[in-house]
Symmetry: C2
Amino acid sequence: MAKIGLKWLFCTIYRTFVSNFLKMIAEIITIGDELLIGQVVDTNSAWLGKILSDNGIRVRQIISISDDREHILMTLNERVGRVELILITGGLGPTKDDITKSVLCEFFDTSLVLNHAALEKIEEFFISRALPMTHINSQQAMLPEACIPIPNENGTARGMWFEKDGTIIISMPGVPFEMKPMVSNYVIPEIKKRFDLPVILHKTILTHGIGESFLSDLVETWEMSIDKRIKVAYLPQPGVVRVRLSCTGNSQEEVDSLLGKAEFDFIQIAGKYVFGFDDENLENILFHRLKECNKTLSVAESCTGGYLSHLITSIPGSSSIYKGGVVAYSNEVKRTFLGVNEETLQKYGAVSEQTVHEMAEGIRNRMETDFGIGISGIAGPDGGTTEKPVGTVCIAVSAKEKLIVKTFNFGHLRDNNIRRAALSAIYLLLEQLVKD
Amino acid sequence: MAKIGLKWLFCTIYRTFVSNFLKMIAEIITIGDELLIGQVVDTNSAWLGKILSDNGIRVRQIISISDDREHILMTLNERVGRVELILITGGLGPTKDDITKSVLCEFFDTSLVLNHAALEKIEEFFISRALPMTHINSQQAMLPEACIPIPNENGTARGMWFEKDGTIIISMPGVPFEMKPMVSNYVIPEIKKRFDLPVILHKTILTHGIGESFLSDLVETWEMSIDKRIKVAYLPQPGVVRVRLSCTGNSQEEVDSLLGKAEFDFIQIAGKYVFGFDDENLENILFHRLKECNKTLSVAESCTGGYLSHLITSIPGSSSIYKGGVVAYSNEVKRTFLGVNEETLQKYGAVSEQTVHEMAEGIRNRMETDFGIGISGIAGPDGGTTEKPVGTVCIAVSAKEKLIVKTFNFGHLRDNNIRRAALSAIYLLLEQLVKD
């Protein structure tokens, strides 16, 4: 306990020290019953957290509350005056359940007035889409007198900028593609004009092939020795542990240099597990590696059902490395589209190293690419046997004079199996590219 | 303003009335810096919100805070004693950044003691995976004396059940596949043993082909006339507006009958826009319709890059209706795998109604299915022209003696274009199935 006590003391001193740099603290409030009953996952908060953090604004807390007048008022009363910035999303739609605007009027003791510019924009919006405008659409041009309206490039509900007791309060629609341009193009630039923000940078090191606790043990001395302005966190995912370093400072140069040194030292110790950094993901890394060495890929999928192709083609420009794929769900398609032998399927089964070998080779030859991937497995929930239980997945990577084939067992969850199979196929090919 | 005032008064009376039924109020606290800087989207809260809500427990608020001792303590101090249930996730990992357990010891004024049963389980866990056990793993068997430990089927960190001032406080790991079984198999059953929970039911009506404000106008009289215990919310998504009805009551029968009547009346007015209910989605509905009429499908995708196949094959049992697909990213693959004519590609281009017609027919004939879908478009961000800007997508649905071809323009966001193109293809086929 003494050790823990000391750690707390240290943390408190450390935080006091660090907080000198932090000039702007923000909170995010998302409004909507759909968030509380789990009908919608709150992706807005993560997006807002990232853009604020990237711009030197620290997010202290995210709160999701219901479309309930008293609860909204209470939450605002508790928070306004305590932090510099509050971003609110949700509850600005045209329908009756959307009450945020009225509640804000009550909170800021102001009333709704017709905003002529907003009305014109709404009219234009409907004309451009050749849709009739209804009464409730025109009501969206009624805005609180006390706010500065924020333009909405992709919809009819304006954002609203209020200020009270030293807090900027910004209310925006919950629809992501309406909210995001408001923040990027208006809110962040306005705040940057008015505040001198510190630099907060995060560096994430991506590792594969080692569990969270083993990695933490391996780099223990590193963690003790790095600059105390850097905070370390471990974020495990299926097959991947991400190590995040966060550092706050007065200048880009200072923070860059601190993080650069810590990263360098980490790689000296655990480099063999590191496969990438920050927002990189496996499909992105594969894309860049293939592009660098001017190689092409085709894919034959059974249990992953198109997911591997989807991951690769999510990347803009992927057509330069990816020619195409076949989703061979039935054995017939495995034979006719990939040239898998009937005897192989009969003797070894669709989920076998022999079958994926022929799938990978078949797609590579027929699509005339440098690499071919073949995947076949039992994603579940049904279809498992004692010999080949749900989660068994065979993967082959075929190149002109090389072949890798491997069998995995991922577990019993269909979605997980699909995802892990696709990522493991990318790993196998990446390993091959590194060896070459 | 008088109207708004009256509305508030009404809402307050209504809520007081409804709240008589609500016996258990919960709050969710998720802990982790990764949530605040937007590195991880908080999907746990939505999952928890849904399972609590389905079991008659109302979630009042979701709060995400950082791995910070003072902030965790303050949040607990503010909330314990005010609600019946607090669920906490995150911060229980074996690494140094995970501090939840120590902070809970401080808050409940208790200390860590070795839990022998937990230690045995951890040892078993590592033996079964043939991994060595490290010191920090064994520390996970140290648990606060004041808690009831909750078994973890999929990991080494136990959950912890505390009680204080009339509030049950439950702390669990943030890793979803560890947390979820704890809640489903332990927390919910334990709470149901001890509390007599009311019935809260949600019914969601899924509509397509009408915007949020037009739909709201159309059903205005319905909304005014339904039972006042039912709350209505509109949730727009690209191409879909979901209408959620929430109702609280004393018995399943009462709530079922209220919701059933409201749903029936809604369909009388807006039935032609309704395509499904609740957690149904388009791919699920397509799967069931095809299965009912014993028809099969194959898919030829260009710009959606495997995403349509992925949506369909995410459904367990989809192999009964889906034979396979070709991701034809290059023109060469369109020719050799689908039989698209070189002249068609030359004359009309890869993104044309003529090309998707041949793609859909080609895949249907070659995979010998009842329906074939062909999709080609410009997902972006590059590749657009004045005539065919980014977001232009052509889709064809081919059946033996029928063909539907349609051109869409979805916008400028790659991810959105891929998603909307895949969903629109499913719509087109569903429309065809309804007509047949």
